[in-house]
Amino acid sequence: MMHLTRHRLEVADLLAEVQSAERGGTCVFLGTVRNDAGVTGIDYTAYEAMAVEEIERILAETHERWPDARVMLQHRLGLIPVGEASIAIAAAAPHRDAAFAACRHVIEAVKKRLPIWKKELRGDGSEQWVEAHDHR
């Protein structure tokens, strides 16, 4: 499964990657574009080669810390309209503690480490780079 895509993210596809008969708990996180202050969409760009490597590092670290968990992550790039997902993370594990913890760990690492940038597009035609960490 590709970690970066320009297509809509499909939760079912991520679930299929991580779930199995041994893993009874699955935690999914979806980050979607909010309609803050006239925002109609966000254009996502990435340093793609580095982002892919960073995602693989994050997933490898997560696997080391929660060996029973299986985790998948996809980030969408390009123009994403309000309400659609820019990121989807799925973590499945035998028990729910690890599923929640691994999923949360990945989104926090993504926010800190992925070389991806957002330009907000507004209904009035204006555009603006988002440069502060958000807390979505």
């Binding site: 990435a46 340093y47 800190k112 992925l114 070389p115 330009k119 960490h133």
Partner: protein, 82 residues
């Protein structure tokens, strides 16, 4: 002198007016040396912060990391993925 690839992303690409270039620096150099050279060649990048985030060969590094000929230095605005 050695040639180092330089990549600009997001707002920094707008400041530089380009997204992919190369500069000549005395190698071995540090990432900070490359950035100083970049500020001369692309004056718009003087609007970057004094110590921008940087990656060397696709891995985030401190500005004192050593750069060899042929390396790729990327200048990264504050990350906002997710």
């Amino acid at each position: 002198m050695g040639k180092v690839s330089v990549r600009f992303f997001a707002r920094y690409a707008e400041l530089a007016g380009c997204s992919w270039s190369a500069v000549n620096v005395q190698t071995p150099a540090t990432v900070a040396d490359v950035i100083s050279r970049v500020r001369e060649v692309f004056p718009g990048t003087q609007a970057m912060p004094p110590r921008p985030l940087a990656a060397l060969n696709q891995r985030q590094v401190k500005l004192d990391a050593t750069v060899k000929e042929g390396d790729e230095v990327a200048l990264l605005p504050p990350l906002s993925g997710g």
